[in-house]
């Protein structure tokens, strides 16, 4: 069965709320019913059929084609299945998702995977602020799952991160891992100032020595970490070849808060 495809007809005049286009909501609907679903975010009524050309059938395998940064909430609250975005995504991509996979071939907006509890999001290019951060009305950020970002991440990546793993391929903005509670962020392209601000028990892994270090992190020196080997092996199983090795410098912090978090800077 061919993937259910939503091809954007042109740049929309308003932001689109695509949270209804997930397998659990689409299951059992025929094409006409799908085209009638409302996706408007202003007083201007808009349905799926107005904005997208709909083809294909398999609701467990969704493709969004030629989408742009106004296409919000793709895969939000996803509970299974796969979504491929052949274009860009707007804000709250995969927010509060529980299971399933989302792959974006372009860039995504703010709050990618906000307060998600499981599943996997990969964005080939850049993401906006607060990736893996806090969804509206929530107290914690991402609570589980895996986000991989190929390009640059905005500020506050992993804000209030509770659990789960974020890998940033490019540079992360300021306050990476800001107020993170636990979980792990791998930073392959460094980060802006104030990385790990307010970190309680989380891990920030820098593949290169960061330019800025908060003064509230305390050096524990270099040692071996089987945890890094475990993580490297798991990432390889996901198709990501990241050399973490086994040795790293450990800085404990943020001592301004609980102080049981860490920065591991690969040796």
């Amino acid at each position: 069965m061919s993937a259910l495809c939503f091809e954007l007809k042109g740049r929309p005049e308003q932001r689109l709320d695509l949270s209804s286009l997930v397998p659990a909501r689409l299951d059992g609907l025929n094409r006409k019913q799908i085209e009638a679903l409302s996706i408007a975010t202003t007083r201007e009524a808009l349905s799926v059929g107005d904005a997208f050309k709909v083809t294909g059938k398999d609701v467990q395998n969704l493709h969004f084609i030629d989408t742009d940064d106004r296409c919000d909430k793709i895969g939000a609250k996803l509970t299974g299945g796969e979504i491929v975005v052949e274009g860009d995504a707007g804000m709250l991509l995969g927010a509060q998702m529980k299971r399933g996979k989302i792959a974006v071939q372009g860039s995504a907006g703010v709050s990618v995977g906000a307060t998600m509890t499981g599943g996997e999001i990969s964005v080939r290019r850049d993401v906006g602020d607060q990736a893996g951060g806090v969804a509206f009305g929530e107290t914690f950020g991402m609570k589980g799952g895996f986000i991989s970002i190929g390009g640059v991440a905005g500020a506050l990546v992993g804000e209030r991160l509770r659990r789960g793993l974020i890998v940033v391929g490019g540079k992360a903005g300021e306050y990476a891992g800001g107020r993170m509670v636990a979980g792990t962020i791998v930073l392959r392209g460094g980060a802006g100032r104030y990385a790990g601000y307010g970190n309680r028990r989380g891990s920030l892994i820098f593949t290169d020595k960061p330019r800025h270090l908060l003064p509230t992190y305390v050096d524990s020196g270099v040692m071996e970490f089987d945890y890094l080997r475990l993580l490297e092996t798991w990432l390889r199983g996901q198709g990501m070849r990241i050399r973490l090795g086994g040795r790293a410098r450990r800085l404990m912090g943020d001592m301004a808060v609980l102080g049981k978090g860490e920065m591991l800077i690969l040796d």
Binding site: Y227, R229, L230, W234
Partner: protein, 302 residues
């Protein structure tokens, strides 16, 4: 009915009687294969029989770097007991005292299993508050700071209630050296079978036991019917030319695995034929009334 023989070795028409057990598997890794083995051997050294060790355990196989969760050399260890509570206690004590203490070791789940046993979930308390939990790919691991660095241990491992203990082969021969050589060969052959271990020293038991004793409080005593020095006794099951009997006991995660191991072992024993001095291959049972698993040698041969 003609006597069943393999290369001149008589296969006695009897069966091995085996019992349900609960079992688990853990994977131990270390900086080198040798240190992984040392850790695993220490954990399973005093684990030959539930009669007095609390558990039966052994190394199932060594694992190359490509098969371990952290990309280091490792071994998989199987551990069996008669009930889940005892398995939990034994696992905690043995991993806690033998693997946690072993230089550079890490310990991971080796079985999904229908039920879970605590692994790092208990041992994390050794971290005295400095332990860290990490969830990778939906699995929880504990990082416990220790003098040697960090001990990484998975939160839980799986348990199976379908394990079987006490599969066995008794090897009768004309000399101790012939029987020992044949049994050594068999243990080596069985080591390639997945899901089984041979828990006794080098996989071989020289003191097979029967249930009970003439002495009150002694729950097991020598299997006198197979002791060559007591061939004169009416209970003896041995032919006049038997000089030694050794036994191989097999525990497995499934009955099928034990069947396969016994098959491999039996043929490895008989490989040299009667010319090497092996006269009989038989098996131990209690008349068939105690254990639900009966491994008939005539079926094992095939």
């Amino acid at each position: 009915m003609p006597e069943l023989k393999v290369k001149g070795v008589t296969i006695v028409e009897t069966f091995a009687e085996a019992f349900p057990m609960v079992g688990t598997r853990v994977i131990i890794t270390a900086p080198t294969a040798e240190w992984a083995k040392i850790s695993a051997r220490t954990m399973t050294g005093f684990a030959t029989s539930v009669i007095a060790c609390g558990a039966e355990g052994g190394i199932e196989r060594t694992l190359p770097k490509s098969e371990t969760p952290d990309g280091r050399p490792g071994v998989s260890v199987l551990l069996f007991t008669m009930d889940a509570n005892m398995l939990q206690t034994q696992l905690r004590n043995r991993v806690g005292q033998c693997v946690l203490t072993s230089p550079g070791s890490a310990c991971y789940a080796g079985l999904e299993g229908e039920k879970k046993l605590k692994l790092g979930a208990s041992l994390r308390f050794f971290g005295d508050g400095w332990q860290m939990s990490k969830v990778i790919g939906g699995r929880r691991y504990w990082r416990i700071p220790v003098m040697g660095g960090e001990f990484v241990c998975e939160d839980k491992t799986g348990m199976t209630t379908k394990a079987v203990g006490g599969g066995n082969l008794l090897v009768v021969g004309k000399s101790h050296s012939a029987v020992l050589a044949a049994c050594t060969r068999a243990v080596k052959a069985m080591a390639d079978v997945p899901d089984v271990i041979t828990p006794f020293p080098g996989g071989i038991v020289r003191s097979g036991s029967k249930v009970g004793s003439k002495y009150a409080g002694q729950i097991a005593s020598t299997n006198h019917a197979y002791a060559p020095g007591l061939k004169w006794h009416a209970d003896s099951e041995l032919p006049p030319n038997a000089e030694a009997v050794l036994e191989i006991v097999i525990d497995g995660l499934t009955a099928d695995a034990i069947h396969e191991a016994m098959h491999e072992g039996l043929h490895a024993i008989a490989k040299g034929g009667s010319r090497e001095g092996i006269t009989h291959i038989t098996a131990g049972n209690y008349g068939g009334n105690l254990g639900p698993h009966h491994f008939h040698l005539k079926e094992i041969v095939g």
